[in-house]
Symmetry: D2
Subunit: 207 residues, 4 copies
C-alpha cells in the first residue's frame, strides 16, 4: 500500500514551510505502507494539477496533504473542503482570486474521507495536541483538498483523502508577537507519522 | 566558575514540570562553567531555604532559577521580583498565603542582576522565542527569585541572580484548550543552555 | 419587505444568550423593512422546525439567524453550513449527536446567500469588528443554518439566508479566563442592525 | 474629598485613547467625592510633572491614573510600579529611553496604595471583567505610577495612589487581528466609576 503525503513551498514571506519540512522528515514506510512524498507549489490550480499528476502516476491508497496554519497550537485534522477561492494575500504565482469557485461544476463542499477522529486520537496518544477543524480556509490548502476529494469522488472512489494543518515551526515564531504558538519540526513529523499510521490501520482493517 | 540552575517539582495538578525536566537535560558544563543542578520544592519559604543552603554550599558565580509559566509561548526572562505572596492555588505544602510579604524587612522589589537582554537575544539566536518579562507572578517562582536577590544583596554582592519562565512542554498541552502554546523539552533545554552561556559570557568579560 | 431575525435560548451553562438579547433590542424596522423576531430552542432538529414554521407563516425576504460564539472578538458572518451534527456538549434537550447528518438527503454543504462581504463591511463602518467565517461549527447553530438553506434551496429560491455569530456579552466574561473577549449588548445589537441594513440594501437594489 | 483621575493622550498611532475618553465620561461626583479630571501627555517625565503640579494644586485624597493596555480583555488594577524606563516605541515627544531609571534616587519599586482587590471586586460586581496586574510595563504608564507613588511616599503620605489599565475601545479593534478584545467606552467609564467608588469607600471607612 502507498500513502501519498504532500507539503507546500513556503509562502506569505516565510523562509520555510513546516509542513514540507516535516513531510521530508517522515520515514520511508509507516506501518508497512510506503510513504510517497510530493512537494506542491503554493499556487491556486497549479497545486491541484501537480497533485493530480502524482495521484495518476502513483495510485496511492490514501493522500494526506499537509499545510501551515500559522497561529494554531496543535495539529488540525481537516474535515471539510469548500468550493471557494478567496485570498487575502497573493499566492506564489501572484494570483489573488476573490470569490471564485475551485470547480465551476463541483458541489459546495466535500467531506474528508480519511478517519479524522482516529487520526486526531493517534496524534494525541503520542503526546502531541491535535484538534478537528471544520474549515481549511479559502487559500491554496483548501483548493488542494477540494481538488483531491473531487478527483477521488469522480475517478478514484476507493482512495481516501485528507488534510492536516500544522503550527509554525518553533524557529518561525521568533520575532512574532508573544503568544504565537510553535511546535518543533520533529514533533510535527511525529504527529504526521501517527496520522498516517491511523489511515493505514483503517484501510488494513477493511481489507 | 559555577552556574547554579534550579527547577521546581510539578504543581497545580501537572504530572511534570518542564522547568525541572529541562534543567535535568542540561549538559554538565556550559562555556567552561560547571552547571550545578538543584531541585526545589514548590512550597513558599521552603523553596528559598533549599536554594539558600545550596548557595552557601556551592558558592556559585550566578544562579538561574527556572519555573513553568503555563500559557506563555516563549521563554520569559524575568527582570523583577516583588515582596509579595498571593496565591490563587495552594502550594505543594498546602499553604495559600494572601497578601503576605516574602520578607517583612525587605524592599518592595529587586531587579534581576543577570544580563537579561543578552540572555533573551542568545535564546532567540538559537531559533527559540524569548521575551523580557516584568512580573514573575506572586506564587513560589517570585518567592524564590526575591529570596535569591535578597540573599545576594546582603551577603553575596558579586553573585548574579535571575529567573526564567518556560512554556508547557508540548505533551502537557494535550487536553488543554486549543491555542495553548507548548514547546519541546529539547527546545526548552537548549534555550536554558543559551541563557547560561550569556551569563557566563558576561561574567567572563568582566574578569 | 420582511427580514426574519432569530436568536437562541441560553445553553452550555450560560444564564443568557447574547444573540437572543441583541435580537430583542433590534428596532421594529430597518431601512424600511419589517424585522420579525423569532426565538429558537437550542435543540437539534427542533430549532430548524420552529424556524421552518416561522418561515412558512411570515414568508420573509431574508432570514438572518444569530448565535453565540463564545471566545470570538468580533461579529462573525458565516459563509457555509455543513451537513454534520457533532456535539461536544448536550443540547438543551439532552441530545448529543455524534457524526450524524443534518439531512440524510442533503448535499455536504450550502453557501449562505446573503451578501456576506457587504454585511461585514457595514458592521465595521459602524466601528464594530466583523470577520468572515467559514465554519459555523457542528452544534445547533450550523444545524439551523443548514436547515434554512436547504429549505430555501428547495422551496423558497428567492429568500436569502445567513447566519451571524456574536461574542459573549461583556457581563458573561466576568469569571472567565483573562483574554476572553466580550462585547456590549448595545454594540452587538447595533452590529446586527447594520447587517440587516446590508441585506435590505442588496434586495432593494435588485428590485 | 477629591479623587483625581487622569487619562493619557493617544499614542502609538491610535487616534484615540480609551483611558482619556472614559475619564471624560465620568460624572462630576462619585459617592460624594469630587472627581478631578486631568489629561496627561504621553511623554516620559513630562507626564509625571503635569501630574505633580495637579496634585500640588488640588491636594486630592487619592489619585487614580488610567492608561490603555491594548490587547487586554478586562480592566487591569495595577499593584506595582518599577523604577525602569524601557520603551519599544518612542513616546509622543520622540524619546525612547532604554534601561533608564525613573528616579535615580528611588527604590526598585512601589506598591499601589489604593485597595486593589476591592476595586477589582467592585468592577466585577457591575458585570465588567477586572484582573489584578503585577506589571504596568516600562512605558509612560509605569513612569507616571512610579512618580505618583514616589511623590506620595515623600510628601503626601495620606494620599492614596493607583493605576488602571483599560482595553481598547471596541471601535479601535476594527482592522486589528481577530481575537483582539475591545470594550465599549461606556463600559470602561462605568468600570472606572466603580473603582473610584471602592477607593472612596475605603477612605471613608477609615475616617
Amino acid at each position: 500500500m502507498k500513502i501519498m503525503m504532500t507539503g507546500f513551498e513556503p509562502f506569505g514571506g516565510e523562509s520555510m514551510n513546516p509542513a514540507l519540512e516535516a513531510v521530508r522528515r517522515l520515514p520511508e514506510r509507516v506501518a508497512g505502507a510506503e510513504i510517497v512524498k510530493v512537494e506542491l507549489p503554493t499556487v491556486y490550480g497549479r497545486a491541484g494539477e501537480v497533485l493530480e499528476e502524482a495521484v495518476r502516476r502513483e495510485e496511492p491508497g490514501a493522500v494526506l496533504c499537509v499545510g501551515q496554519a500559522g497561529g494554531c497550537s496543535g495539529i488540525l485534522v481537516e474535515r471539510v473542503a469548500i468550493n471557494l477561492r478567496d485570498a487575502r494575500i497573493p499566492d506564489n504565482g501572484g494570483r489573488q482570486p476573490v470569490d471564485e469557485a475551485v470547480r465551476e461544476d463541483g458541489p459546495a463542499a466535500y467531506f474528508a474521507t480519511v478517519p479524522v477522529k482516529q487520526m486526531a486520537a493517534a496524534i494525541r496518544e503520542a503526546g502531541i495536541p491535535a484538534f478537528l477543524s471544520y474549515s481549511a480556509g479559502t487559500f491554496v490548502c483548501n483548493d488542494v483538498l477540494y481538488t483531491l476529494l473531487h478527483l477521488a469522488a469522480r475517478e478514484y472512489p476507493v482512495m481516501k483523502g485528507g488534510f492536516l494543518h500544522v503550527p509554525y515551526a518553533t524557529e518561525q515564531t521568533v520575532g512574532k508577537p508573544s503568544g504565537t504558538p510553535g511546535m518543533a519540526l520533529e514533533t510535527i513529523a511525529r504527529g504526521l507519522e501517527r496520522a498516517a499510521w491511523a489511515v493505514v490501520s483503517q484501510i488494513s482493517e477493511k481489507t
